[in-house]
């Protein structure tokens, strides 16, 4: 890990001195992660590609501003996340169906999410998830993610889907690790409730 960071810092130094190839190497190193993060947020490959382009270009234009206080990858993810969230907000304002309007039931879930002991847990005899086709399952997972408020969704995507550590997520979002843990906790509770009817809650 440290070696990778050293290599990144070497490439950054070269890129700052005008070495285009060094910058391109850096982008190649993280393009899959950036694309994946953007796709998770936008669920649209074309828009995720746009985010990748915007991120790479913005990183090049602003490279001198990168002082190396965080890892280069963290800085890059921050840029990517900002662009992805910007697209998401545009998408939301354009498409009513993408707007988070909790149903009465979801509102209740959200209100009770804090710490109260969960009641009325659904019990099912068989595992309904087994009867779903793979694509159906993916749609259900993505729909559930979409129902999360942005601040919870972003943390859940970075930590659970993109595999970043709590510390890394904290740096990307400029929040404390404690705040990340709280958001993560709430996002999981919310998702567990949203997915409730598909989960095998039997013992």
């Amino acid at each position: 890990m440290k070696q990778t960071e050293q290599k990144d810092s070497t490439l950054v130094a070269l890129a700052k001195n005008g070495n285009i190839s060094a910058f391109e190497k850096l982008i190649k190193r993280y393009e899959d992660s950036i694309f994946s993060l953007a796709y998770r947020i936008l669920q649209d490959k074309e828009k995720a590609y746009d985010v990748l382009q915007e991120t790479a270009l913005s990183a090049f234009k602003n490279l001198k501003k990168f002082k190396g206080k965080s890892a280069f990858s963290t800085w890059l993810y921050k840029i990517a996340l900002n662009y992805a969230l910007m697209h998401k907000r545009k998408q939301k304002s354009l498409e009513k169906k993408m707007t988070f309007i909790p149903t009465e039931n979801e509102s209740k879930i959200y209100e009770s999410i804090d710490t109260e002991e969960l009641s009325n847990i659904q019990t099912v005899d068989d595992n309904p998830i087994k009867t779903l086709e793979e694509q159906e399952l993916i749609n259900i997972l993505n729909d559930s993610l979409n129902k999360l408020p942005e601040k919870y969704r972003t943390v859940f995507i970075l930590k659970e889907l993109e595999g970043k550590s709590i510390e890394e997520v904290a740096k990307i979002l400029n929040l404390s690790p404690a705040a990340i843990k709280t958001r993560l906790h709430r996002s999981r509770l919310f998702l567990r409730e949203l997915m409730g009817k598909y989960l095998n809650l039997g013992v």
Binding site: G18, I20, F23, E24, I27, K28, E31, D32, F35, S36, Y39, R40, K45, A48, Y49, L52, Q53, A56, L57, F60, K61, T115, E116, E117, L118, I121, T123, I129, L137, I138, L141, F156, E160, L161, I166, K181, L184, H185, R188, L189, L191, R192, M195, G196, Y198, L199, N200, L201, G202, V203
Partner: protein, 88 residues
């Protein structure tokens, strides 16, 4: 340490983040073995996370990647040239 049912969700989150020490984990599982309701919560919590972990990483197709590399190279060159002209 006595674990109460109302604390179980907080503890589960810490457990899945590897934040509990061995003793706390022991208390958690002792409670789960004795409380079928909390065990249900644990099972569904774990199942939910497992399901989301099934979502595979999304990768850019090779052709699209090549296209992106070409595009980036041209864009960067243009920026470099513009910067040079500004300096003159």
């Amino acid at each position: 340490m006595i674990i109460k049912c109302k604390d179980i969700l907080d503890l589960l989150s810490e457990f899945f983040d590897d934040e509990l020490d061995m003793k706390e984990e022991e208390f958690l599982f002792d409670h789960l073995y004795q409380c079928s309701r909390c065990l249900q919560i644990y099972n569904s919590y774990r199942q939910m996370l497992d399901l989301f972990h099934l979502l595979k990483p999304v990768k850019l197709e090779q052709e699209r990647k090549k296209e992106f590399h070409k595009w980036l190279h041209v864009e960067i060159k243009q920026i470099v040239i513009k910067r040079k002209y500004k300096k003159l």
